[in-house]
Amino acid sequence: MGDPINAIANWLSGWLTALGLPASLVTVILMVLGVVVLASFVLIVDILLVWVERKVVARFQDRLGPNRLGPFGLIQPVADIIKLLIKEDITPVGADRIIYNIAPIMALAVVLLLWAVIPFAPTILGADVNVAVLYIVAVGALGTLGVIMAGWASNNKYALLGAFRTVAQMVSYEVPMVIALLVPVLLARSMGLQVIVNAQEPWYILVAPLAAIIFLITSIAELGRAPFDINEAESEIVAGFHIEYTGMKFGLFYAGELLHALTVSALFSTLFLGGWRGPFAEQVPILGVVYLFIKAFFIYWVIMWIKYSFPRLRIDQMLGFSWKFLTPLALALLIVTAILDKVIEGVSTPVYVISHLMANLIIAWGTVQLLRTYARFERKRVAEVRPVAVAPEADYKELIVQE
């Protein structure tokens, strides 16, 4: 009871074995079914995300959003998809056809792959690999590769510029992200997500709030969402990497971006908000799925809130923010967490949590002080009168003399 997924799997496995199939084949068949069910489930949620995105944006902008098709406009995404499916697909002249077609597939497939390791409930998860965090970092970076491929293959200068920007952004934000990921790994002593969820007593957002914030910021940058959306900055490079994509190919990029945002939210919930943890989640595993999605959608909403509240950063500000702020902060945080964790080994849970929380707060306070000094310095620097580009006078005089 309470775990229909495994119950069905067990029943199917018993039925297939009774048919006389070898055990290994039964395993493979069950896995293929599991993958198809998981991927379809995630994609259905993805379709729903189109509606969520449009409705929430509308609310942020004081509009109503889609409300004509079905109750609360719920059928709107279906109409969107049909529209995308029947649009003519235009391949720009001179495009690198193979890469051009693989890129949108990659953008969505890679995000789907991330769901393979996210634990939905104590007993419901795709693969409980012991290096899940590394897997997430590796596969997550592949998504950026799709963007780069799209920008490169489009034979369009704006698209190429978008791809270049993505490269700079990815290599900069990957570093603080991985260092921030080290903190929950260190606290749980494992890279397996199920172990990390089980170790969260209490949630890691209380033990490592700074790591959580760094992870959220860098994830948004990896997503390429506002305020870090310089790779598709509409006002600068029109649409960036997907400028030449039409119809369903564009739709795949769009779906991939939305789903990536939810995936990141789910990862954040798993790493810092206790994943499927909640009342009775261990007795009734299906409740865990509900808890995970409630938490993930809350973080998704926070990401949207950030997206519609902040102006876009310039590329030099973005890179500076990562290298000169987030990376040193993440390194300092890692050092403090590591030493503190070793020094206070064996204390009771409340003391443990409070000392970690205090350490985080002290680092945060110091950072804010540093930032204030920097901001004062920077304001002064920008306010200084800078020489305007004028034609050098000396050259004119020389010219006159020569004449």
Binding site: V35, D89, F164, V178, A338
Partner: protein, 118 residues
């Protein structure tokens, strides 16, 4: 354990099928009348001119190099973090020194002006 990797392997094969399917359907039902004018690439207000695949800035390589150093460092730190229960305080300090060396590298790159975007 091996079963879990098998699951990911199967996922790796099946995951591209879904978006692939979404690209096959428009091939059947969407109109398809390409012509030379339609498939021109977009550029603001003018006809495209010149080569698109230009050489790009060397600075991207420098950022990529700094990134590479840090990424390799972090890969070394993951085993250290996992074995945290088994290692004494001494080894923790060693790990911290390892991080500090890289930190000095970051400061060096910063002072050299590599981290400025120009």
């Amino acid at each position: 354990m091996h079963n879990d990797w098998l699951f990911i392997g199967i996922f790796l094969i099946i995951a591209p099928v879904f978006p692939g399917l979404a690209l096959v359907i428009p091939r059947i039902i969407a109109p398809r009348k390409p012509n030379a004018l339609k498939s021109q690439t977009y550029e603001c207000g003018i006809e495209t001119f010149g080569e698109t695949w230009v050489q790009f800035k060397a600075q991207y390589y420098i950022f990529a190099l700094v990134f590479l150093i840090f990424d390799v460092e972090v890969v070394f730190l993951f085993p250290w973090a996992i074995a945290f229960d088994q290692i004494p305080l001494f080894a923790v300090i060693e790990g911290v020194i390892f991080i500090l060396i890289l930190f000095i590298g970051l400061v060096y790159a910063w002072r050299k002006g590599i981290l400025e975007w120009m």
